[in-house]
Symmetry: C2
Subunit: 341 residues, 2 copies
Amino acid sequence: MSENIHISNLLKKLEEKDLDGMLLANFNNIYYLSGYLSTSFAFLILKENPIIYVSGLDFELASKTSSIPIKKFESFEELVKDLKEENIKKLAIEGDLSVNHYLKFKDFELEVSNIVDIERMIKSDIEIAKMTKAVDIAHKSLIELDVRSKQEQGWEEWACAYELGRIMRANGGEIESFDTIFASGSDTSLPHSVPRHHILETPVLVDYGCKYHGYCSDTTRTFIFTEKQEEISNIVLEAHDKAIAGIKSGMKGCEVDKIARDIITEYGYGDNYIHSTGHSLGLDIHESPSASTKDKTILEDNMIITIEPGIYLEGEFGVRIEDMVLIDKKAKVIGNLPAIL
Amino acid sequence: MSENIHISNLLKKLEEKDLDGMLLANFNNIYYLSGYLSTSFAFLILKENPIIYVSGLDFELASKTSSIPIKKFESFEELVKDLKEENIKKLAIEGDLSVNHYLKFKDFELEVSNIVDIERMIKSDIEIAKMTKAVDIAHKSLIELDVRSKQEQGWEEWACAYELGRIMRANGGEIESFDTIFASGSDTSLPHSVPRHHILETPVLVDYGCKYHGYCSDTTRTFIFTEKQEEISNIVLEAHDKAIAGIKSGMKGCEVDKIARDIITEYGYGDNYIHSTGHSLGLDIHESPSASTKDKTILEDNMIITIEPGIYLEGEFGVRIEDMVLIDKKAKVIGNLPAIL
């Protein structure tokens, strides 16, 4: 396993913190370290000789894909016994481990650790290439869908969302990186609206992405139709552009949020900006750090983060514009889809 | 809230166990009790006057859909302070609560409780009607897809899975109840295969379902093409039919598993039956109890459970046949899709 740089980095960090090993149950963390993506459950024990306990259901898949040795999971008793035999006492765990699993390991000294999240924050060239490809597929597919013509033809929200998914797959995407938001009319004021069996009204807000080799894209465009919508859209676009222009590596996530939020607040819509300015992404659609009011994490080169300001007028409409940026001293927008379509 | 029978049942159980309240974070548990389905995060505090702390992102949605009063979530500190002011000391929690959240409530005496899972085991007439409708939509849609003609026309796995999803939505389904498994050729030996950009080989295994009003269906059919496949399929079908015929309310889940497993083992394929015989479902695709080797839960009237034996020959092919049954003294199959298509 010595060739896996992430594993050696993590083992070093565990040693520094005087931890004997780490228990990983998060599917994407296990995929990140081994290349095996669980379909049921799995436990990776990160130690000098890492091992993954896999369910019988996944044994064939894991044996074909994992770069880390695997063993069939029989019971928690056996897993705990194995760990004790290796003299493991202090065990790091993930923050999203379920309490049910947490309690199975109470014989150990457990410590929540975000070292894997931190390792995943900085993207490698290969990861950046996969995410760039995911963005390219997604952008190309939105153009192909031609939202304005679908609106003219009277398509329903769900059918548009679904057709966009088909086009992304046909263009080489694996799956949506999250359930597509294809909202129209007053439903655009719900940031996480679910596509309805409802003919497209205006404006139309599309927040969507696809995965490529497991890596996510995330883009939002709002198709506007009236002067009032244009007025709001211009404010959102200004916040979007200035936040992106203002990013420098070494800044804190909250400072990026502040740029966008201050602009929207100056125009009097601060209370209508009801979410954070952005979030990192990679194998997961939401990763650390975020560009939120509270996140003091320093933005570093080779992080990829969304910038997605929005203004939501309850009962009327909402506008959001979102792009992904790669931090490389400054912020470079990934892809070249026009902000206004 | 007195009209919500589930809430009064749960409050009674909390009182019996001398618990002052319960913290719920699971989206479907919160939906079950309030009608509000979170899109980000939410915390329901189950007590005499229940309340849901919702994210700002969901405030409009929650105010439109929740039958339980809502409050905007500001911070864990504030939530903990509110609970302390109400003199809550012993707090029940869900087993799938994340450790990160668990640790925010460490000032309380916490106890993992499955009372909501147990409440959800017995389906009401309305829930049964919704699940029956979900099955009807799914079955009708598989017939409409016409898998054998797609195989003859040389469609790819992903395109078939996707077209099935489109037909289910057009027929009134909301979304897949889980990622559709549309496997062909030797990939059918992977119980959780992911649809590929790969022209359909034979046999073809389809494990799929849709949601209707939030409630899941789950069905598997294997389209067979050779004598060897037919031989294996007949064994699986015998296990499927006899397990269903053998179910009586009052039996344990493990006894149902044993019926199917014994038949497959008698034919010499015990080691090729690498998963459980079935699982309950409802708002979630996997609920309690299961028909597994270890589950001693008594099956009761108005539970809905899958029966899905399978035989997997690594590198060759796999066969699985799955139906949902409603327990009503005996097991009644939901829907009337032929087992062999």
